[in-house]
């Protein structure tokens, strides 16, 4: 069965420090992986995706994600956190052989403290 896991319910980081939000996946075939951010009472915003190619993917707002096939992970990273990065982050993976459906992680709340 295909699945995606975000093992941390919440991540706390001091402003200016690097941040990592973890995501692991289980899929058959080549994974298509995505990261989204959600601010309170707003819709989700697409940050970045990995389809193929370079394992380090750069996205919006200075975020990047590293695809690691051997560890089946796709962790979201940022070198220097901002208070405004505080939000809910979702990892997603495509459902193979589907009508373009995504399977979503449970979400990780990121809190950046000044």
């Amino acid at each position: 069965a295909q699945s995606v896991a975000q093992p941390e319910d919440q991540v706390n980081v001091a402003e200016g420090n690097p941040l990592t939000v973890k995501c692991t996946y289980s899929v058959s075939g080549n994974p298509y992986l995505f990261w989204y951010v959600q601010y309170p009472n707003r819709g989700l915003q697409f940050l970045l995706k990995y389809i193929t190619g370079d394992n380090l993917v750069k996205g919006s707002y200075g975020f990047e994600a590293e695809f690691n096939k051997s560890q089946t992970s796709f962790h979201l990273k940022k070198p220097s956190a901002l208070v405004s990065d505080s939000a809910l982050y979702f990892c997603a993976v495509r459902v193979k052989d589907s009508n373009y459906q995504l399977i979503w992680g449970a979400g990780t709340k990121l809190i950046i403290k000044p």
Partner: protein, 112 residues
């Protein structure tokens, strides 16, 4: 550029009343359309998706229904709301072969 609209933004409805939430997409053609529900500000539950006019797939059996009367219009309905229907409803679109979905601003529904 593409935009997606949802309305209303917030809604308070009594148990047993009907529901109609609307979603429209601009700037693209033949999109896939999706309805999600998000409870307690966390996980997303896919309710319905549509790959074309009149084509609706339901993911979760419940008292909700969806319709797609036009290419870029997606409607979520209920004849009689339950307390458990409360939540944050999100509409999204994608255009194959891309998988990434783009979300509307959402509708906060409270059933009292």
């Amino acid at each position: 550029s593409q935009t997606i609209h949802q309305w209303p933004a917030t809604l308070v409805q009594p148990v047993g009343s009907p529901l109609s939430l609307e979603c429209t997409v601009e700037g693209t053609s033949n999109p896939n359309l999706y309805w999600y529900r998000q409870a307690a500000g966390r996980g997303l539950q896919l309710l319905f998706y549509s790959v074309g006019i009149g084509q609706i797939s339901s993911e979760v059996p419940q008292n909700l229904s969806a319709s797609r009367p036009q290419d870029r219009q997606f409607i979520l309905s209920s004849k009689k709301l339950l307390l458990s229907d409360s939540g944050f409803y999100l509409c999204a679109w994608s255009v194959p072969p891309a998988y990434e979905q783009y979300f509307g601003p959402g509708t906060r529904l409270t059933v009292t």
